[in-house]
């Protein structure tokens, strides 16, 4: 494990993957490509089909339809013990009758390798558990058990490691620590990690690619910043952080900018943000602005060059240490959330009239036809 060999091509491709449990469609015609060596997070609310997707890749669940390809081989019909992938289970699933050493050696022994000493030793060193060889799983803490599960999977040099909410059972502090450990280990071994989680912060900290999942489908795939700055659906916009969504009418185009109108306020956004369909429909769009992108200023201050501005009244203020969260009511009675860093300005009291400004490129634009709410967690139900 000391020589990180960039694995021979182990690109994972899920093609039209579907799984139905009776009337419930847990995974619905899912398409996904994961390049070799990536750390990808499958992120979505509980019940959206993440575990089912992972289990199909592991071979523990048979797909109703679709294909699973890894590199040049088709895994779809293979038994789990014939797949070059290993899993870190949500509950760790360590063998209670074996000690830590034998737990870690389990996969090697099944592959007929007799001398496992050196490899087990190296693995335990990698997860910092040297000296725990003779303990039983019941004699180690949650965080340690988690690392045993990781070592037990990684020792087999799988082409891909599947992790199902591996940090879910840990407390916050340990979870933060393990996020960094997992990332370090992934960079060291260079194996593709497919990490399932419902925690957006965890996904953003660890993964270099995030696939946001909802109702059995991938909503959007991209780098964490890309998903955060340019969400393509309401669901992604609301699942990753908070967003203020403004419903606006397209007014016209002015060079690289498009003018939008909300009540008596005029805004501009870069034209590239609007898809062709949105422009010609000349209908309505949703403009999203993240709370921390909004600057709060006294209502009489001049608007800085090139920024969008709108007026409002502060209706609620909550001090949160490093920042203050404001609720600002606009002229058309919508409440917007603003995060302001607590640097030198005083906290603005409720009732104060203010002006909110932001740079046009800090917004994102969505089709107004997509539903506004952060989609319900229920899975899609087949007719």
């Amino acid at each position: 494990m000391t020589t990180p060999q960039p694995t021979e091509d182990a690109e994972l491709r899920l093609i039209g993957l579907t799984k139905r449990f009776g009337p419930v469609t847990a995974v619905d015609d899912l398409h996904l490509r994961v390049p070799s060596g990536a750390f990808i997070a499958l992120l979505g609310p509980s019940g959206c089909g993440k575990t089912t997707t992972l289990r199909m890749v592991a071979g523990l669940e048979a797909p109703t339809a679709g294909q699973i390809l890894l590199g040049d081989s088709d895994l779809t019909g293979l038994k789990p013990y014939r797949r070059p992938v290993n899993t870190v289970f949500q509950s760790y699933a360590l063998f209670p009758h074996l000690d830590i050493y034998e737990n870690v050696a389990f996969g090697l022994r099944r592959s007929g390798i007799k001398d496992v000493r050196a490899q087990v030793g190296q693995m335990l060193e990698l997860v910092q558990l040297t000296g725990f060889e003779r303990r039983r799983p019941s004699q180690v803490s949650g965080g340690q058990a988690q690392r045993v599960a990781l070592a037990r999977a990684l020792i087999n040099h799988p082409k891909m490691l599947l992790l199902d909410e591996p940090l879910g059972a840990l407390d916050l502090k340990l979870r933060r620590e393990m996020q960094l450990t997992l990332k370090r280990i992934q960079e060291e071994v260079r194996i593709t990690f497919l990490h399932v989680t419902h925690d957006q912060e965890e996904a953003m900290t660890m993964a270099d690619t995030i696939a946001v999942m909802s109702q059995g489908r991938i909503e959007q795939l991209g780098h964490p910043e890309q998903l955060y700055e340019r969400p393509r659906t309401q669901f992604v916009a609301n699942f990753l952080g908070q967003s203020n969504m403004l419903r606006a009418t397209v007014d016209g185009r002015d060079g690289d900018l498009v003018t939008l109108r909300i009540a008596d306020t005029t805004l501009v956004v870069p034209a590239e943000m609007l898809s062709h369909g949105m422009l010609t429909a000349s209908g309505e769009v949703h403009v999203g602005v993240r709370p921390e992108k909004l600057d709060l200023a006294p209502v009489d201050d001049p608007v800085p060059q090139g920024r969008n501005a709108l007026r409002g009244v502060v209706v609620d203020t909550s001090f949160m240490g490093t920042s203050t969260q404001y609720l600002v009511r606009t002229g058309w009675d919508q409440e917007l959330t603003v995060f302001a860093q607590n640097r030198h300005t005083d906290v603005v009291a409720p009732g104060t009239r203010v002006r909110l400004t932001w740079r046009p490129e800090h917004a994102f634009v969505l089709d107004a036809d997509t539903p506004t709410s952060a989609a319900a967690p229920q899975p899609a139900v087949a007719p």
Binding site: A58, G59, L60, P80, Y81, F95, P96
Partner: protein
């Protein structure tokens, strides 16, 4: 997490409210009292009586007298060595058979039966709704010379023309196996049912074929059930006399039959008592060795 933090808490309780603790201290012993009395009257006392009887000398007519005659033991052991070994042999055979029959059954109920599980468990214990004697008598009818089992066996050539099942060792072992089967099935079921399915999935994920996964994970995790089941079957089977009485002949007689006839027919109390004690000690010794061996390898 290996250090339980219970003791300090108890101490704190004592500091805060010593009177409560002093008064409450008697309650557990008080609650134990009926059980202890029961044990004293119905276990310890009879044991002492049997122990003393086993060292007496005399005859029914002249009365028995405690002479500490240890030869009762050596004589009995020599004279009935065959019945002793037959008892252990039959008990071992029926325990193995019960395990072989019960394991797949318990496995099926625990892993595959789904919503039929409770019904199947009920069927496993259903024989207990009738008495042990009636069930053994029923086997006598099943295995009788004119019964369909013997007929079928003869047709299939598994038994010669005039061959019989009744009054053979086969019948006795079959009866023992049948009668103690639920004692094997239930503990097996209990330990199999407890096994976390994700452990088996983890094994297959780590390149174990279904057979290897069973052998390396399911089987070792079910060993507590195997140990409990074999003990619950072997112990009563080794002391049984009913199955030989109904399904066998004197030439199959087990030590239980000897004890029974010494006590109730011949009225040779010292020998019967010495045999009882020897049987008990032998079982204790065997079980002790077995549990020690099994314990070091398995119990989770």
């Amino acid at each position: 997490m290996t250090q339980p933090l219970v003791a300090p808490a108890a101490d704190t309780g004592a500091d805060v409210a010593p009177p409560v603790r002093r008064r409450g201290r008697w309650i557990p012993y008080l609650l134990l009292l009926p059980g202890l009395l029961w044990l004293a009257i119905f276990f310890v006392l009879p044991m002492l009586t049997v122990a003393s009887t086993s060292l007496q000398e005399g005859s029914l007519a002249q009365g028995y007298e405690l002479t500490w005659r240890l030869a009762n033991y050596t004589e009995a052991a020599q004279r009935y060595a065959a019945q002793f070994s037959r008892a252990f042999l039959f008990a071992a055979a029926s325990t193995v058979l019960a395990l072989v029959v019960s394991y797949p059954l318990a496995y099926f109920i625990a892993f595959k039966a789904g919503r039929w599980r409770n019904l199947l468990l009920l069927l496993v214990i259903a024989p207990f709704f009738t008495s042990f004697l009636i069930r053994t008598l029923a086997w006598k009818i099943i295995l009788s010379d004119s019964g369909w089992v013997v007929g079928t066996f003869q047709t299939l050539g598994l038994l010669p023309e005039q061959g019989r099942l009744l009054a053979t060792s086969v019948a006795v072992i079959a009866g023992l196996t049948y009668n103690f089967l639920p004692f094997m099935t239930l503990p097996l079921y209990a330990s199999l049912e407890k096994i976390d399915r994700s452990l088996i999935e983890a094994a297959t994920d780590l390149y174990a074929s279904p057979f290897t996964a069973f052998w390396k994970v399911t089987w070792p995790l079910s060993l507590p059930g195997v140990v409990a089941g074999t003990l619950l079957t072997f112990i009563p089977a080794a002391g049984d006399f009913v199955n030989v009485r109904f399904l066998g002949t004197p030439s199959q007689s087990m030590i239980g039959n000897v004890i029974e006839s010494r006590f109730l027919v011949v009225l040779d109390y010292p020998t019967a008592a010495a045999l009882s004690f020897t049987l008990m000690l032998a079982i204790l010794l065997l079980v002790g060795l077995y549990v020690r061996r099994a314990g070091t390898e398995t119990i989770v």
